[in-house]
């Protein structure tokens, strides 16, 4: 019986949260809580089993939905990359769910939070597994609508406008992506990624399709200059939502870009695209960090930090273009950075949420003496700051290490300088929060508010455990690094 269950594991990863979502919708707020907790808890073992399957199999596993073989039917593909992203989604998803249990009071407007939340996690799982270009479109749309609905949930003026801006950007991105899919189907008559890789030829329509898809996904990943919608959306959303947006949702569209440019084709398919993405990434790092240094609100600072950290992911493309896909350093650097950033950034947003709930505001200059009033939250913020800065022993450091090695080996040393400068800039904006944290509690902050509404333990621990996970990743990250490169994406063999 067990190996029958194993075969269906990829489907389970999507089905578990997908089944839980309508149940939570029908169950309403009070019963939605246990349903969500159970579903997210269950998806962790599922993700671990999938990771185990991928690493033991050593190559791509295909799961043809509906029993129809590849070109006709839709396939779910499990390889190192998808297993890693599933694992991160499961772990971060569960931790944020635990945090959200205490975050939302019984309120009319939050009654559908759990349904939207489970739909979001289900769509992320579907996105990371799908091997069909059009299916990825539907998955992207599912992610976007769920994310926008969650952003607009608090009903406040800024949140609504931020949600609207995010919605328009998301729909525009999807339409660009769809136009690309149309041209791909027109040029190659195939929708499955592996088949596409096999028949991909130098063809104007194909190149235009890749360009359109990239523009669409850049819009959804909020790479500079298409980042305008991210800071208001990520900072005005409720904190658990901001955490999942910065940690996972932006990574979903980046994942598809990664598949497209390193699995199906390669960055030189459209001449100059790799370098363009790299330059935009570098500008994003600098621009995001500078903006983060200028923000007054903590959540805006963390949101602009996301804009900067997304820039790091895109440094991968020029390096892979020069060094070729088989020099795994740059590719592993990008993916590993995505993983460690997911852990650390979600911890940072959860900590920011804890600060907001403790002080009632998140203006940075009003956060004096944070380490005395909310020690665990301060620790969580500090530890995740270490990953942002890319200092050892964090996962961010390993990613930075791989980036520098790749750029020196491939001769494009300037990317290494960008990475190092980004680390220092990150130190700048992290210090803006940590430094006043150590200051003696300012006179006006009377001790009365110190223990006003002391945060429930599980919320602070959820943030701290995510931050610690990012650090552990820096030391014991080898299994993750081995898992990532399973099923060498460049092979594109037709199973």
């Amino acid at each position: 019986m067990t190996d029958a269950l194993l075969v269906h594991m990829p489907a389970l990863a999507v089905v578990v949260p997908l089944v839980a979502a309508p149940i939570a919708f029908l169950a309403g707020a009070r019963w939605g809580r246990p349903v969500a907790l159970f579903a997210t808890a269950l998806s962790i073992p599922v993700a671990f089993v999938i990771a185990w399957m991928a690493s033991t199999a050593g190559e791509k596993l295909r799961y043809q939905i509906g029993g129809w073989d590849a070109p006709l039917g839709i396939g779910l593909v499990v390889d190192g990359l998808s297993a890693t992203m599933l694992l991160v989604t499961a772990v971060v998803g569960f931790a944020i769910t635990v945090y959200s249990l205490g975050y939302f009071a019984e309120q009319e407007k939050y009654r559908f939070f759990w349904a939207l939340w489970l739909f979001l996690l289900a769509s992320l799982a579907a996105l990371f597994l799908s091997a069909d270009v059009f299916n990825l479109y539907v998955g992207l749309e599912l992610v976007s609508v769920a994310a926008v609905a969650l952003v607009g949930l608090s009903g406040k003026r800024d949140a609504l406008i931020a949600a609207m801006r995010y919605m328009l950007a998301a729909i525009l991105g999807s339409i660009f992506y769809l136009f690309g899919v149309a041209l791909l189907y027109g040029a190659f008559g195939v929708l499955d990624l592996a088949h596409l890789a096999a028949v991909l030829g130098p063809d104007v329509t194909g190149q235009a399709a890749f360009a359109l898809i990239t523009i669409g996904l850049v819009l959804k990943t909020a790479l500079f200059p298409a980042h305008f919608w991210l800071p208001p959306a990520h900072s005005n959303a409720p904190s658990p939502v901001s955490a999942v947006l910065s940690a996972l949702v932006v990574k979903g569209s980046f994942y598809i870009l990664l598949r497209l440019w390193t699995d199906v084709g390669d960055p030189s398919y459209v001449p100059g695209m790799g370098t363009l993405l790299g330059v935009l990434g570098a500008t994003a790092i600098v621009w995001g960090s500078i903006q983060a240094l200028r923000q007054e609100r903590l959540k805006m600072l963390v949101a602009y930090s996301t804009v900067a950290q997304i820039g790091y992911l895109f440094l991968l493309f020029p390096l892979v273009e020069i060094a070729g896909r088989h020099v795994a350093d740059a590719w592993s650097a990008g993916v590993f950075h995505a993983v460690s950033h997911a852990l650390a950034k979600s911890a940072m947003f959860l900590a920011a949420g804890a600060v907001l709930s403790r002080f009632g505001h998140d203006r940075i200059e009003g956060l004096g003496g944070l380490s005395r009033r909310a020690p665990v939250t301060m620790m969580a913020f500090g530890l995740s700051g270490i990953t942002m800065m890319g200092l050892p022993p964090s996962g961010g450091f390993v990613a930075k290490w791989l980036y520098i090695t790749a750029s020196i080996e491939s001769g494009a040393w300037w990317w290494a300088v960008v990475v190092l400068a980004g680390g220092l800039l990150a130190a700048g904006y992290v210090a803006r929060v940590v430094v006043p944290g150590f200051a003696k509690a300012s006179a006006d902050a009377s001790d009365a508010d110190v223990d006003a509404g002391r945060l429930p333990k599980h919320m602070e621990l959820a943030a701290l455990s995510l931050a610690l996970a990012a650090l552990v990743l820096g030391v014991l990250g080898q299994p993750v690094l081995d898992l990532m490169v399973v099923g060498d994406p460049a092979s594109g063999v037709i199973p």
């Binding site: 975050y103 939302f104 009071a105 019984e106 309120q107 407007k109 939050y110 608090s154 406040k156 003026r157 800024d158 949140a159 005005n236 409720p238 904190s239 609100r297 949420g353 907001l356 709930s357 009632g360 505001h361 998140d362 509404g453």
Partner: protein, 105 residues
């Protein structure tokens, strides 16, 4: 320009493009939405020309019908209220950024 009926297609596409420009340039929202519904019906016609009856049906029913109804309702909702420019004091509760206030009840 070889296949039969291309003149008909050109006319149809010309109208579609002209309608699209008119919709986006139209200042009065109600008129723009009505034009959009016409655009939807013409699109249904285009699907028939392209031998896609399923899509023609769906476009007519959903594209022109439901979307049109939702748009009309939205415009009605907006026109019935205040001027099109944001007033100084928003109608809603201009609560400070105490998102947590409502979050934690």
């Amino acid at each position: 320009m070889t296949y039969s009926g291309y003149l008909y297609d050109l006319l149809l596409i010309g109208t579609l493009l002209w309608l699209a420009v008119r919709i986006l340039a139209e200042v009065k929202l109600f008129k723009a939405v009505v034009l959009f519904i016409a655009f939807g019906l013409l699109m249904a016609l285009a699907w028939v020309r392209l031998a896609a009856p399923d899509i023609a049906l769906a476009e007519a029913a959903i594209g022109a019908g439901i979307t049109g109804a939702l748009l009309l309702d939205a415009v009605g909702h907006m026109r019935g209220r205040a001027a099109p420019y944001p007033t100084d004091e928003p109608a809603g509760d201009a609560s400070a950024v105490t998102e947590m206030g409502d979050g934690r009840g």
